[in-house]
Amino acid sequence: MRTGNSEPSFQCWGRYPRLRANFIPLHWTSDFPLSSSLGTSMLPVGLGRSYGDVCLLEGGTLLGSTGLSRLIAFDPQSGLLRCEAGVSLADILDFAVPRGWFLPTTPGTKYVTVGGAIANDVHGKNHHVAGTFGCHVPRFELVRSDGSRFECSGTQNPEWYRATIGGLGLTGLITWADLQLRPILSRKIDYEGIKFVGIEEFLAISRESAQTEYTVAWVDCVAQGRNFARGIFMRGSHSSRAEEFVPSRTPHLMVPVEMPAALLNRFTVGAFNALYYHRQLSRRKSALIDYEPFFYPLDSVLHWNRIYGRNGLLQFQCLLPENGDATGITELLRTIAVSGLASFLAVVKVFGSVESPGMLSFPRPGITLALDFPVGRGTSFALLKRLGSITLEHGGRMYPAKDALMTPHQFQTFYPQWQRFAHYIDPAFSSAFWQRVTAHV
């Protein structure tokens, strides 16, 4: 997959696979359609935070959207923000938080664009009450490569609206979008961390926390025996005590170079996990904390993906439907623990039943597990294949935004609506992911 020694100019966050493409930055919404025909397929990309190849296109042309960074209008009464699609969630927070507004939902990094958040229909710690990002985007504009423009909402061009939310950037270029923000009284989060051991206990705390706005759990994927599936359940809600808003600081920590991948192994990760688990001494711990470390613990270290070394990382995120028992998730966790390949970044969360308008959206009711593995060490490819099979056996599905290995059979079983979705793909658009999962079996 690598051609030559130099790095491709645009990489996905996992830095695997590495594919080459032309890169054309867009600066104005009127820059698209391009003035001259390229003769290659195109794909809009944002900040490149999706892990695998949904943001790549070998030999194609990537349309960089971060230059579409302008706000268009904001209604301080209703909290409705209209902005260009390349605006980042970080930029929205800088704008909105001092005015007493917050994102309706946010993934674990704020360095994603609005367009990317719609295209991957991202979710966050409040999925069980708020649904996906797309649930809070009542309207956007879609421009196709033939120059046609569609203003899309639930009632206007509703099929295009549904296809584009979670549509992996394939339906055309999103130029602007409306985003419904939610009011807050302070930057602070009322936080509570609760230690648990085992999936049953995790599920019990999840049920008890159904009314709490944000819930997620870190799980130790290395420990076995009596510590199997131990973790910390983290829940929180926006503080109800009004407080003055102070601006965010820009991060200054950065991983400057690739670290040797061998630094991450069963022993270092096991030690880290034990320390992390025992850092919280009591079973329950409450605190009033800033939203930044609560939502974006990794954003404070720029380029953290470099700790995985030059080969990059593979992310795995699946969803298993709720069926009353925990056998599927237990099998996944046991397989991972036995392999000894997991990193410390593993989370589980219970998704809710708020339905996304997106045709190809990933979340639906059930349990989601997300974690990453270094590429190429030991048997990580074989392990991920095995995890994919377990997911399939239990009627679950995997998340395109975090995938580099799903097979066509798996994708087409996970997303049986894919053929209906395919009608909405712009004929000039494609992605490495789409080519891979729709290849003839």
């Binding site: 100019s9 890169f23 054309i24 930055p25 600066h27 104005w28 919404t29 009127s30 230059g67 302008r70 706000l71 268009i72 209008a73 904001f74 260009e84 704008f95």
Partner: protein
């Protein structure tokens, strides 16, 4: 030597990526803007962006600044809208096509007209305005390319070099009136002007460059290289003896 943030701001070439980024950096003071650029739609999206982000007022003027005959009228409209001017930022230029410009003097003259002659017209008016006001900042975006002529872009470089000398003279004249004349020398910035170049580690974002410019305004600087690492790089480039330099492929 910090001074109050400028509140009445005139931007000439307001749809340039660096200019928009500077305008966003100056929003904290609820500034008022008078924006001049050629393209109506682009200018309008910059206006909406600044208004949404909290600008006090934004007035726009669609004008091709190559047309020096229209400058006088544009300035009176700006004064009418702003009342007075704290900061004027000149932020437009064309990179031109070096190959075309070295074979056609007409093409070279067009680059010189936009980057130097029309800018001289603006600077002349603004220098007189600020000298009479005994205050204010005149900030002009030049380029590191003006520090020494190179075969790859010497027509563009000459337009910026001439601009640097002109600004040195203006500064020498009106500094004593309490006016800051700031020559901004950016290196490579990721903007539409450089979109055709392969982006390397020397490229800076417009937002990064804008923060450097706003700091230089606040610190009353005369010449600023943005990002700052260009100052030593250009020092070295200027120090290479001509008998060596003329053999280099730069």
């Amino acid at each position: 030597m910090s001074k109050p943030m400028p509140r009445r701001i005139l931007i000439l070439g307001a749809t340039s990526a660096i200019a928009s980024a500077v305008a966003r950096e100056l929003l904290a003071s609820h500034a008022q803007f008078f924006l001049v650029a050629r393209n109506t739609e682009k200018l309008d999206s910059v206006r909406k962006d600044l208004l949404t982000r909290g600008a006090g007022a934004v007035t726009t003027c669609v004008l091709d600044l190559d047309n020096t005959a229209a400058h006088e009228q544009m300035f009176s409209a700006a004064l009418q809208a702003l009342g007075s001017i704290d900061l004027a930022l000149i932020a437009y230029a064309v990179s031109g096509n070096q190959n075309e410009a070295q074979t056609s003097a007409t093409a070279a003259a067009a680059i010189l007209h936009t980057n130097f002659i029309s800018t001289v017209s603006l600077i002349t008016w603004l220098a007189n305005y600020f000298e009479n006001a005994h205050r204010g900042t005149l900030a002009v975006i030049s380029s590191v390319a003006g520090d020494r002529g190179r075969k790859s872009n010497y027509v563009y470089g000459a337009s910026k070099g001439a601009l640097n000398v002109f600004l040195d003279g203006v500064r020498n004249r009106i500094d004593r009136a309490g006016v800051q004349v700031l020559t901004i020398r950016p290196g490579f910035v990721s903007t539409p002007m450089t979109a055709h170049l392969p982006q390397g580690p020397l490229f800076a974002s417009p937002a990064h460059v804008a923060r450097g410019i706003v700091k230089a305004v606040a610190a009353n600087k005369d010449v600023v290289y943005v990002p700052g690492f260009w100052r030593p790089i250009m020092f070295i480039i200027r120090s290479i003896p001509e008998f060596v330099f003329k053999k280099l492929n730069l």
